[in-house]
Assembly symmetry: C2
Homo-oligomer: 80 residues x 2
């Protein structure tokens, strides 16, 4: 089983990395870029075949390690 | 218009970050995690409304700045 976790900054949190990306692209001549945001995707290979249980466990992993829930939000997808 | 770019390590490239994630999760008691990989997602807000042209431009951005094509592969999605 696979879990795909999307982690991104919560709306309203200052995003210096996104700013750096959009400014660099503008400087390279890509003037159509108005804004940029960068997030991360974590893919996990999981043993077991209970997808409901897996989702609960992966949510616990996010809360404990994978996301900084003060400033980041996350979304979990389970694939068979 | 929005562009969503997924950037990840090419298969076979050593992934110390993924290793660190899976070991940390195992150490925390999540023994069901067999492997982990971390990639990034960049979201761009674009002006203009020609999605074919946008896709070509975003691909150019990936080649020039957003991905290290020696070790990373990328995938571009355009949303209206």
């Amino acid at each position: 089983m696979k879990a795909i976790i999307h982690v991104g900054l919560k709306p309203g949190v200052l995003d210096p990395q996104g700013r750096a990306i959009s400014r660099s692209l503008n400087d390279l001549g890509f003037e159509e870029v108005a804004a940029a945001r960068q997030g991360k995707v974590i893919e996990l290979d999981l043993t077991g075949d209970d997808s409901t249980a897996a989702k609960a466990r992966v949510t616990e992993m996010c809360e404990k390690l994978l996301a900084n829930t003060v400033i980041e939000s996350y979304r979990v997808e389970i694939e068979d």
